[in-house]
């Protein structure tokens, strides 16, 4: 240990929310020019701790020291004055504003009469975008971008403030490999400049690539802080979940049955075209591709969320018309969206209602929705999915990101579907839970269901799938059988066309 004073230090931080003690007595410090990684299960309190540093929450107790001086950070504006900026886990973007407006929101350059300097904003935005080789139009509205585009902008924005403490809360959960590389390049650059970075991620490979130090939180309590070289993936996982974990991908051999879903020549003008594939009973099908390859768009079209111009969807050999989501659900097909916030949770409502929403018929008999039954069933499913929540009536908004994802999965489990389309199912999920989800997927196919898994994490696709389709530019560029699975093969197809 050197004697250098930490750039940022937290002492005895405690924080409670209604029904939950999110943090209890956390001590934590970060040195100049280092990357400090925070690990912990979903709901361990990582985001909460970071939000305290950024002034979104006030700690119930404890001190924050910057350069050895105690400070009180009341809001993000003050945080920025102390040189702190943050990339948030939950992308809370403003759909109507444009790329350039978003880049400078809250930090608009003005002339001496208070007039916003649009020219400067434009040139700065273009410069920043070009510097990172990102091709967004500065006047595109955020609502017209995909979630990964927006995440990339958030990263760019946080970095552009010239802060000396940058907090990144799961920045890579929504972006693909190329962009991850851009980000890591940026991190190296910042580190060299003496910026310190607090980095939260559930992706172990990433963590070990960039971390200088790792801190592990469990249930709001700090377990340990160690330099990276004293740890390895298994040790971290053991510290996080409190036990050893062996095989990460619990794949089992399952008998493959007849074709359950067949998609023929699906086309939606210039978003994707001529997409054909099939899924058999008991199969796990992967969809790989770079950002904007069109995978999510295809899934949305099949699920009835978007329209398409041409093509057929056959379920169990019969052509079906899916005009609305409910049609798909009735045909036994469900989809977990990649954008949980927008297409998943009903924020102000409780966990129970969120889970039951798509299959209320189960609790309706004699013309009445029986809440007792609903409660029993939902709590059963939540237990099985290991959802952590103070009660089933707690509004889903206040759950941690990973738990929200589990609630979404619980919603679809309740529908007992034959076909599950999972768009980025493990986004923002901790290793323990990830394993649980993989196990769940395995169980599901064992029960004779079929899975379509869209993921930007190649290892997960390779580890779990029976077949992988690769998309690029809105077209399927190839289909790989299990024995052909390698990162190289996939990337070759993904960059084709």
């Amino acid at each position: 240990m050197d004697l250098e004073m930490p750039k940022l230090e937290l002492r005895n931080i405690e924080k409670s929310f209604p029904g939950v003690k999110a943090l209890g007595n956390v001590n934590f410090s970060v040195k100049k020019g280092t990357v400090h990684v925070l690990c912990g299960e979903n709901g361990a309190g990582k985001s909460t701790l970071m939000k305290i540093i950024n002034g979104i929450y006030q700690p119930d107790q404890g001190q924050i020291l910057i350069n050895g001086k105690e400070v009180k950070i009341n809001n993000p504006i003050e945080a920025r004055k102390y040189g702190i900026s943050m990339i948030f886990q939950e992308l809370n973007y403003i759909p109507e504003i444009t790329v350039e407006q978003s880049m400078f929101l809250g930090n608009e350059p003005t002339n001496k009469f208070g007039k916003i300097d649009w020219k400067k904003i434009r040139s700065e935005t273009v410069r920043l975008l070009e510097q990172e080789k990102l091709h967004y139009h500065p006047t595109t509205q955020l609502k017209d971008l995909t979630i990964s585009d927006i995440q990339m902008l958030e990263i760019l924005k946080a970095v552009s403030y010239g802060s000396d403490i940058i907090i990144m809360d799961e920045p890579t959960s929504a972006i693909t490999r190329n962009e991850v590389e851009i980000l890591f390049g940026k991190i190296a650059e910042l580190k060299a400049k003496g910026v310190c970075i607090i980095y939260i991620s559930h992706k172990m490979e990433e963590i070990f690539r960039i971390a200088d130090e790792i801190t592990i939180l469990r249930d709001g309590v700090m377990i340990d802080t160690k330099p990276t070289n004293e740890l390895n993936i298994d040790k971290v996982i053991a510290l996080m979940v409190g036990r050893e974990m062996s095989n990460i991908y619990p794949k089992e051999e399952v008998a493959i049955g007849e074709t359950v879903l067949e998609v023929k020549g699906l086309t939606n003008n210039s978003v994707f075209s001529d997409v054909s594939f099939d899924v058999k009973k008991g199969e796990i099908i992967g969809f790989a591709g770079l950002m904007g390859a069109g995978r999510s768009e295809v899934a949305r079209a099949i699920f009835g969320l978007d329209e398409f111009n041409q093509g057929q969807i056959l379920i169990k050999g019969k052509e079906v018309k899916v005009n609305k989501v409910i049609d798909s659900i009735n045909h036994g097909m469900v989809m977990l969206s990649e954008d949980r916030k927008r297409y998943g949770i009903i924020g102000v409502r409780g966990v129970r209602e969120n889970v039951a929403l798509s299959k209320l018929e189960r609790f309706i008999y004699k013309g009445r929705l029986h809440i007792k039954d609903e409660n029993t069933t939902v709590s059963g499913i939540c237990k099985r999915m290991n959802v952590k929540t103070p009660s089933l009536e707690t509004s889903i908004d206040s759950l941690s990101g990973g738990n929200q994802q589990k609630v979404m999965l619980a919603r679809w489990m309740l529908c007992e579907p034959d076909i599950l389309i999972l768009d980025e199912p493990t986004r923002g999920i901790d290793v323990g839970a990830k394993y649980e989800i993989y196990k769940l997927i395995t169980e599901l196919v064992k029960e004779g269901r079929s899975i379509i898994m869209i993921s930007s994490e190649l290892p997960e696709l390779i580890g779990m799938c029976d077949r992988i389709y690769v998309m690029a530019g809105g077209k399927i560029t190839g289909e790989l059988e299990n024995r052909e699975f390698t990162q190289e093969n996939i990337m070759k197809l993904a960059t084709k066309g």
Partner: protein, 341 residues
């Protein structure tokens, strides 16, 4: 339960039911400061006075929960009431009059619903257009004249069953209906879902348009019934009746905790809101507060009631710092809560 448990229970109760506490506090204060307040007669009066607005308020509650609004309630009330009166004068049948009144209410709201769901008109504008048009139609039909001599039509609005006035019975009926819909039907759940997040609801298999349309149709039913009761109570067909009724109705709903951001609201809350407004109006009249002063006081009381409600909710959030071990789901013992009144 130990003393800490009692304390916690109390803190929770006061915050969760803060609007009912406001209501009870107001009730007690009123009883103390005015001797006549607590008479059966006066309470019956208050109930009757708020009944028609409250029936509309349930329609607004459903709509606001779903992220919609109805600015046309007052006008549609007048149109359906006037046509119902006319039907009664023609046929002499109260059944037919009722059917006509309700049909008109439902019809106007079907147009509202179509404008909102099919043509994607903002609900504010769609129902504002209906407000103007329905009022015009009511006036045009009656040529601006009130319809008098409507005979036994008035029975519905003026008679009582036992000591309970018929409009109050309708109010109780719509309360129960709304409560049941919100808590024990798919439609109710879908209302909350659509109001909470349209896109998420759609992606969860909710038919948003159908939900919105149904909300408007039920609102139409309530407004139609309110129209018949209104005309019956004033014993005339008044094309000018019900001006601003939608605002009083919305006020009751909002005071009762319904939120314009959607996804939040209860039937009992709205009823409590309506009674709070009824008490305020009643007590000031009983005390003979000067009428301009009444308006000022009323404004202050509305603000205070809501501020108290909001404050105690926030305080709960601060107080309710539970134990981390409680965090894991605890299943069946709370089964009754959401259904509780």
């Amino acid at each position: 339960m130990n003393s800490k448990g009692v304390n916690q229970w109390w803190a929770k109760a006061t915050s969760k039911y803060s609007i009912y506490i406001v209501l009870i506090a107001m009730f007690i204060v009123c009883s103390v400061i005015s001797p006549v307040f607590l008479s059966t007669k006066n309470i019956t009066n208050i109930s009757r006075q708020i009944s028609i607005t409250t029936i509309i308020a349930f329609g607004e509650t459903l709509l606001i929960i779903c992220g919609l609004i109805d600015l046309s309630a007052g006008s549609v009330l007048a149109l359906s009431g006037v046509l119902s009166v006319a039907a009664y004068k023609m046929t002499g049948s109260m059944q037919i009059a009722m059917v006509v009144g309700v049909s008109v209410g439902v019809f106007c709201n079907a147009i509202n619903g179509i404008l909102v769901t099919k043509f994607k008109t903002p609900p504010f504008i769609a129902t504002l257009a209906m407000q103007t048009a329905a009022r015009g139609a009511a006036l045009l039909y009656t040529d601006g004249q009130n319809i008098y001599q409507i005979g036994e039509y008035k029975a519905l609005g003026q008679n009582s069953i036992g000591i309970i006035p018929i409009p109050v019975i309708f109010m109780i009926g719509t309360t129960l209906m709304t409560w049941y819909m919100l808590n024990h039907t798919k439609f109710g759940r879908h209302l909350y879902a659509v109001g909470g997040s349209e896109e998420a609801a759609r992606a969860s298999g909710v038919n948003n348009n159908k939900t919105k349309m149904t909300a408007y149709l039920i609102n139409g039913l309530f407004v139609g019934v309110a129209g018949v009761l209104f005309m019956s109570r004033v014993n005339a067909g008044l094309p000018n009746g019900g001006i601003g009724a939608e605002f009083e109705a919305m006020t009751s709903a909002i005071i009762g905790g319904t939120s314009f951001s959607g996804g939040i609201g209860t039937a009992m809350g709205t009823l409590a809101g309506a009674f709070i407004m009824g008490f305020v109006n009643n007590i000031m009249n009983l005390l003979g507060v000067q009428s301009y002063m009444q308006q000022i006081v009323k404004g202050i009381i509305i603000a205070l009631a809501v501020v108290y409600d909001i404050r105690s909710k926030t305080k709960r959030d601060k107080k309710k710092q539970g134990n981390i071990n409680e965090k894991l789901v605890d299943s069946s013992n709370k089964a009754k809560e959401p259904g509780a009144l």
